[in-house]
Subunit: 187 residues, 2 copies
């Protein structure tokens, strides 16, 4: 990896609530089934170099959500399981910077570069990436280490997961984040 | 209007830098040419009822940007010109909540509901709406009082302004904001 050694990997909401059995709850037809595998590869690379790893864990305030703390879906997926010593930021909104001390922890460690992966592209990943950049961090989002679901809009129009994913990345590109795939991050 | 009387209208970046002569700078082929007219209609309605109006003014730190403070484009368009007493929040990032005291001013006035209009749908409007909701405000985005431009993505794919606009609103819908058109807000 050619990234500076104070580049943090920020893993957003890679929780069991996004296992296939809950797909319909989120809109169905998830794209990029390889996201978890790519996240595991990135985590292994970060850990092998002792680069900093941060985890965000969504704790929904909606008791019916599979991300609620009383639900098994709140737990981390095996591919993203935090190791002892890796900080976990519990949040109940999309941005991992709101209601947490993530910004303070990054600044305390002198971290200015963040690589963001996780779920889902258009909500927590995009919101956290937008805010990271607006707070002054240099931000990368890994295109094949995030994924999303089909979505029905306010007017009933249906958008495919792939279209939502790609337009969300286009919105981040050049304005909020560098968009790279896993292989490019590791190159 | 059936909105509560402490509903703020937040007008984002309706500046001359988004006049037609600069279209190419932002990606070209802007959609919804009626945004400014709808914003003027909403401003007139808010003012007639003495509802609170807030303005965000983007002051780019890039000297080459038409939004830089030395550039004529930094000025407000006639349709959005603030009246004396209406607070203006100068910002240099996308979110009107970062580097400003907008949140504090809204809270000081007991405002919990925000209606967001302005430019551009996928950048400053979306980022401010996402953060408003994550900070606890009840947020509406007015679909025909915002607009955007064509966009080329990280991989060279081209997206039309209309597709960017509609997918950005789909991403906000249900998760971050209620999406209404001008007529529905005024109804």
């Amino acid at each position: 990896m050619s990234l500076p050694n104070n580049t943090a990997l920020l893993v957003i909401d890679v929780q069991k609530a996004f296992d296939a059995e809950y797909d319909a709850y989120w809109g169905g037809n998830r794209n990029n089934p390889h996201a978890e595998k790519n996240i595991a590869t990135l985590l292994a690379a970060w850990r092998s170099k002792n680069f900093p790893v941060f985890h965000a864990q969504h704790c929904s305030q909606n008791p019916k959500s599979p991300l609620h703390e009383t639900h098994v879906g709140n737990g981390f997926k095996p591919e993203s399981m935090p190791l002892p010593g890796e900080p976990i930021f519990k949040k109940n909104v999309n941005s991992a910077f709101i209601g947490t001390d993530l910004q303070q922890q990054l600044e305390k460690q002198g971290i200015t570069n963040i690589v963001i992966v996780g779920l889902i592209t258009n909500h927590c990943v995009s919101t956290t990436a937008r805010m990271a950049t607006n707070l002054g961090f240099t931000t990368t989002v890994v295109s094949d280490a995030t994924a999303t679901f089909d979505r029905v809009s306010y007017d009933g129009r249906h958008f495919s997961a792939e279209e939502i994913h790609e337009v969300s990345l286009a919105n981040l590109h050049d304005e909020f984040a560098t968009i790279l795939n896993t292989a490019s991050v590791l190159a």
